[in-house]
Amino acid sequence: MVEPEFRRFDTRALHAGQHPDPSTGSRAVPIHQTTSYVFDSVDHAAGLYNLETSGHIYSRISNPTVAVLEERIASLEGGVGAVCTASGMAALHLAVATLLNSGDHIVASRNIYGGAFILMNHTLPRFGITTTFVDPRDPEEFAKAIQKNTRLIFAETLGNPGIEVLDIDAVSDVAHAAGLPLCVDSTFCTPYLINPIEHGADIITHSATKFLGGHGIAIGGVVVDGGRFDWDASGKFPTLTEPYEGYHNITFTEEFGPAALSMRARAEGLKDFGACMSPANAFYLLQGVETLPLRMAKHVENTKQVIEMLDNHDAVQWIKHPDHPSHPDHDLAKRLYPKGAGAILSFGVKGGRDAGRKFIENVSLASHLANVGDAKTLVIHPGSTTHQQMSDEDLETAGISEDLVRVSVGLEDADDICSDLSKALRASQR
């Protein structure tokens, strides 16, 4: 029996999108620290500006170092293309701004990163885009919330901070039945743990700042174009299916077919909104992606040990992680995430807000900061930091209780992580 032969994931994490530099032989991806690129001729310049020929014009639109990262992530996710951005939030904004217009509507999971919630709940309405938030565990809620003007379904593959597991297949079925694309943020998973496109997602966003980079030294984001959504058949996306005067009346679906979204996102979104990734940050993030499979395997292994420790600790009220049997999505997680459902968990400290504060103040190895997905173990109290702008009601809706502590399990020796967290938990009870 013949089988298709593709380079495997670990190989593509190291090589996709790059060949050794032909002029210098440089094996590593060079940092093309340049704003602009010399044209061969006036005709060449005109061709580049008119999307007739491929290449680089100005690093706000594209850059050779950034392009390697884009192609690498597209390859790892199984998409047709990717566009890197200045941050994960810029990636979400780029996806929304490329597809939606004033008067349009989003149906989104209510259990999403606080910054994404604020964008959709408070900021986008200023531009005429409204959002209805629903329970990500109930695909029917997505269906019921769809309006005539809905243009996007959005959720996180693993919610934040409750780690709700999205049934991507079921929600994508709901979206597609309504002629809508499903956009998922897969920051907590990375393509190592799941390829959402295989489950029906059409667009993927990442904060590359997190596990993709892994080192906590560079901010960046990426939009991955799955290339499977039929924009023409949907008839709801004029930015892709009707002539765009900004580029001599190009119709992106007509000319670029499956890559219409990524081409428009670059040609309009990066060019006009300008939230591009710097070449130096792309270089840093590439160093992280090269070891993504090794790191993610260790992240999830360490997480299993932390869960076991917490499970047996007297100061712990509850644990939220899909690999824990008590998690309501445990069975779904076993199906979607056979390698493990990520390295971010939350738990409740006995004693509520005060005990939570004491816990945070008594960790010594883990770092108290507003990030996840670092090589180092991180802890935070979302109610007072990442989600502080949300009202009590919104916090409750998002499943964030005052005793909730979020842990991003790092790559230290698992025994040391467990020891640190255990000591801080004991201290929290004094």
Binding site: L51, E71, G81, A259
Partner: protein, 265 residues
């Protein structure tokens, strides 16, 4: 561009340049099995701004053209002749894989309809692996995976696309997956059963350009040689190293320039 041919709707990309009021020569770009106009995305717009009316056409039942799919190379060639008649002039034909066979047959048997022909990823015969045909007939995604796997050179499996941010293999697979039910199987059968390549090549009188990938696994380079040897009209052969079957995706810059040079001459 949308228009009606033989009472069926035909769709194609023109690089967003209208044909109306223009008199430049027309180049028709013909895609391969299970694909559509967008496989020429790196050439159409360029040609449309360099002295040609460019039409990357969706063959019947492909892309947005109305069906049904045509089941043989000869039928597809007749459809191209109808296209030339519709425009009222001879065409420059650029074909890839199945589209190359269609261009070849049209040039050999309908000489008045063709000004020049450019053949990419072509062989004197195009046998289809039975398991590929079986998967295509069953609308199994494995067919798209096999074509994607075999269609790109070892080098280009890892990408490094000159078009920033696009995945060569990802784009090819998504494009084939988008084909209407049953279309890929019909196309592959048309390729496998076509036995008129050398006969067509013998008849050709217009200039011929061959653009061939050295690592083409679907139409290996050696299978193009009998065609090259048979063509007696003016011909150019461009061998592209480290390139597979998806020539216009893997080497978009070179293909653009070679097509322009060939057709401008």
């Amino acid at each position: 561009m949308l228009f009606s041919l033989n009472k069926k709707q035909v769709h194609g990309a023109t690089g967003a340049v209208s044909f109306e009021g223009r008199s430049e020569p027309i180049v028709v770009l013909i895609h391969g099995a299970g694909m559509d106009r967008s496989v020429w995305s790196q050439q159409t717009r360029f040609l449309a701004h360099h002295g040609f009316r460019a039409l990357a056409v969706d063959l019947p039942e492909h892309g947005h053209s109305e069906g049904p799919a045509l089941g043989s190379v000869a039928e597809l060639a007749k459809w191209i002749v109808d296209l030339a008649d519709y425009f009222g002039e001879s065409l420059h034909l650029v074909g890839h894989s199945m589209g190359a066979l269609v261009a070849l047959h049209t040039a050999g048997h309908h000489k008045n309809s063709v000004s020049s022909v450019s053949l990419l990823g072509v062989g004197a015969s195009m046998p289809v692996h039975p398991e590929l045909q079986e998967a295509a007939d069953a609308n199994d995604v494995k067919a798209a995976q096999l074509i994607t796997s075999w269609g790109h050179s070892t080098r280009h499996h890892l990408g490094n696309n000159p078009t920033p941010g696009l995945s060569m293999t990802g784009g090819t697979q998504a494009l084939i997956e988008s084909a209407s039910s049953g279309v890929l199987g019909i196309d592959l059968m048309a390729c496998a059963t076509y036995d008129g390549a050398l006969g067509s090549a013998e008849q050709i009188e217009c200039p011929v350009l061959f653009l061939l990938g050295a690592e083409d696994k679907m139409t290996p380079r050696k299978t193009a040689q009998p065609l090259i040897d048979t063509v007696s009209s003016s011909k150019s052969v461009i061998d592209l190293p480290e390139t597979g079957h998806m020539v216009m995706i893997e080497e978009p810059d070179r293909v653009r320039q070679e097509l322009l040079t060939h057709m401008s001459n």
